[in-house]
């Protein structure tokens, strides 16, 4: 008789407010449920406040994605005010958002994701000792270097934003500061230092050489090209991931969404796709179609919110808590966003696919998405962003034009969509009589870690867990790989210091059947 077991995995390094419950049948995950365990209700906080309050409040939703929320909030207000920031303001806004991405990508890869490579489950893997030397928490060589380098690059935001953390320096029509050339040169120096470290430590080669890797077979050529490639953290990641089969787990629906990000400013030499450096689009497999925010609907059938039929566009969405326990199958405080009625994953891999990046298109066309490919996209993303960052700093001549004064915002409706480090982020805002009457936020983790929708379709992460082989139910490290490959973040919450360690718990429930 086949035995089913339930594994409840409140995983640390996923986020404190996300729990994963899986059903394991015959040693493989047969079903999964993602549960956001905390009601957040930012929409309620913002209702009734002044139109500009979102610029101060939403960057405080999260300590990691502060610039991403600021970007989405200000773009919504730009739209409502009908104002277009001057090109230099666009450059500076982009620069700070990209600084957030390139630090977040490295921290996730080497402080969070790589921590699972030193799990005792891999003690017999030949590369294990080297993984411990690099990624042992608090001690690993790459861990320490990553913390030291990523703290510096974030100074870019402080320099041009004039405030850190939780900057609110973007305003409708531009930015509040007029960066002096000395400030910009300091930013350039910080960026060049970061790039130098990234090339030497992470890639083991120049950005250009890695960007020339355009297919799965190119990866093999690159790995064998020289020892610097093999021994870099990227090279090591590829070798270790292949050894433990990360390319064979975490497939999911194979749908991808990117809202598009980093507006191309007028007069720049940087080439993007359409209006953005990071392309917008929706893809099923590698077939990409244009993105329209109107195709987004949020479902609440399995979420602890008052029911409505089907899905609603965020302009018409409601956030009315309805804590019902397990009644009617509800199991999460996250809603279920769907695009054209389909679940879609978001993040660096989705950005690569919707941009029709040759390497990632090739990888996904061969085997579908995987935990390996998602993290590879994340480790690679700074290589795609840093050249544009350098160009935009150099182009941001201090000509005094960083702001276009808008009319006072009294009435209107608008949305701001962008790509946060973890993927598609949108704010939908309505203003009436000089006050916010409606504010809906869809975060990247809402896409990735959503519960089932009103059609009963699993969310992307839930689906990605299906079929995952669990070798040891008491140490289901495989679940950790898949979950963390999405870089879920439901952190936006309470950060108190608690006596006693809250470590990841894994409970194996009673066997059934």
């Amino acid at each position: 008789m086949m035995q089913k077991v339930m594994i409840n995995a409140p995983l640390n390094r996923v986020e404190g407010d996300l729990e994963i419950r899986t059903e394991v049948d015959g040693g493989r995950v047969s079903d999964a449920w993602c549960s956001g365990t905390m009601y957040r209700g930012f929409e309620k906080i913002l209702a009734g406040r002044g139109p500009l309050d979102g610029l101060v409040i939403t960057p405080r939703i999260c300590g990691i994605c502060t610039t991403s929320h600021l970007t989405a909030a200000v773009k919504a207000l730009d739209m409502i005010a009908g104002v277009f920031p001057p090109p230099n303001a666009v450059r500076i806004r982009n620069l700070t958002l990209m600084a957030e991405h390139i630090q977040s990508d490295m921290r996730h890869a080497f402080l969070m994701f790589a921590a699972d490579l030193v799990n005792p489950a891999y003690r017999d893997v030949p590369l294990f000792d080297e993984a411990v030397r690099r990624y042992q928490p608090f001690k690993g060589e790459t861990v320490i270097e990553t913390i030291k380098e990523t703290k510096k690059v974030l100074e870019i935001i402080a320099i041009v934003g004039g405030e850190w953390p939780h900057s609110s320096y973007m305003v409708p029509g531009g930015i509040v500061s007029n960066p002096a050339s000395g400030d910009l040169m300091e930013c350039l120096l910080l960026l060049k230092q970061y790039r130098s470290w990234y090339e030497k430590r992470i890639l083991g080669c120049s950005l250009e050489r890695w960007l020339d890797v355009r297919s799965s077979s190119d990866i093999d050529v690159w790995l064998e090209e020289n020892n610097l490639h093999r021994e870099s953290d990227l090279g090591f990641y590829i070798r270790f991931a292949r050894e433990i089969g990360l390319d064979r787990i975490g497939r999911g629906h194979g749908n991808f969404i990117s809202y598009g990000s980093l507006d191309i400013p007028e007069g720049t030499k940087v080439k993007g796709k359409g209006k953005h450096l990071v392309a917008s689009g929706f893809a099923q497999g590698i077939k990409v179609t244009d993105f329209s925010h109107e195709k987004i609907l949020e479902h609440v059938s399995h979420s602890w919110f008052m029911d409505y039929n089907g899905g609603r566009h965020p302009f018409n969405g409601e956030t009315i808590p309805y804590a019902s326990g397990r009644e009617s199958g509800k199991y999460s405080w996250a809603k279920s966003p769907r695009y054209d009625a389909l679940p879609a994953e978001t993040g660096p891999l989705a950005e690569m696919i919707t941009a029709e990046n040759p390497l990632f298109t090739d990888l996904v066309s061969r085997t579908g998405p995987s935990a390996f490919t998602r993290e590879l996209a994340r480790i690679s993303r700074p290589a795609y962003l840093m050249p544009a960052m350098e160009a935009w700093i150099l182009e941001s001549v201090s000509d005094g034009k960083f702001y276009t004064s808008p009319e006072e915002i009294i009435e209107g409706k608008g949305y701001g969509v962008t790509q946060a480090s973890r993927g598609a982020l949108g704010h939908w805002v309505q203003i009436e009589n000089g006050a916010i009457t409606h504010y809906q936020i869809i975060t990247p983790t809402a896409w990735n870690a959503s519960p089932r929708d009103s059609n009963g379709t699993r969310g992307p992460l839930e689906e990605a867990l299906i079929g995952t082989e669990i070798k040891d139910p008491s140490n289901p490290v495989e679940l950790g790989h898949v979950v963390r490959s999405f870089d879920c973040c439901l952190v936006c919450t309470v950060h108190t210091v608690n006596r006693g360690k809250e470590i990841g718990r894994v409970k194996v429930g009673a066997a059934i059947l």
Binding site: C62, I147, K148, P165
Partner: protein, 147 residues
């Protein structure tokens, strides 16, 4: 420079003690060598404020270190025992305190934590602000008396 770094999320009432202390300090004329910083929920990103400081006093909500509605003073080592074994998006202050000896550039400043137990009220906020100022003024927490 001596720094008082107030931690917390002002959007969440039970985590708003640190921001409340910050708001109170900003209403006061602080000594020229003491700087109050709204640390929000920046966690590891606060490392830059630690480096180069003469001393650092964190102010944050705590659980389990004292009685309800009490202000406690913790040394860095004690507070860092609350750190998870690895980094996460919600790693917060304990992770920062534990990693500082490994990554801090330059001399590690004296670090203490003024912790607020229980639901923050006006009296607790006043007391925490006064203690933080006292510790920062002295540059250390070993001779706190009179609170």
């Amino acid at each position: 420079m001596k720094r008082i770094i107030c931690i917390g999320n002002r959007l969440v009432p039970e985590d708003s003690a640190g921001p409340a202390v910050y708001d109170l300090l900003k209403q006061q004329e602080l000594p020229l060598d003491i700087e109050a910083i709204d640390g929000g929920v920046a966690g590891l990103n606060l490392l830059r404020f630690v480096e180069g400081a003469e001393c650092v006093v964190f102010v944050d909500k705590v659980n389990g270190f004292g009685k309800p509605n009490e202000v406690v003073i913790l040394e860095s080592a004690e507070a860092s025992t609350a750190a998870e074994n690895t980094h996460s998006h919600s790693a917060g202050l304990p992770y920062l305190l534990r990693i500082i000896p490994e990554v801090c550039e330059g001399k590690i400043p004296h670090i203490s934590l003024v912790g607020i137990e229980g639901h923050p009220n006006e009296a607790l906020i006043d007391e925490a602000a006064a203690i933080a100022l006292k510790i920062a003024g002295d540059g250390k927490s070993s001779h706190i008396t009179g609170f």
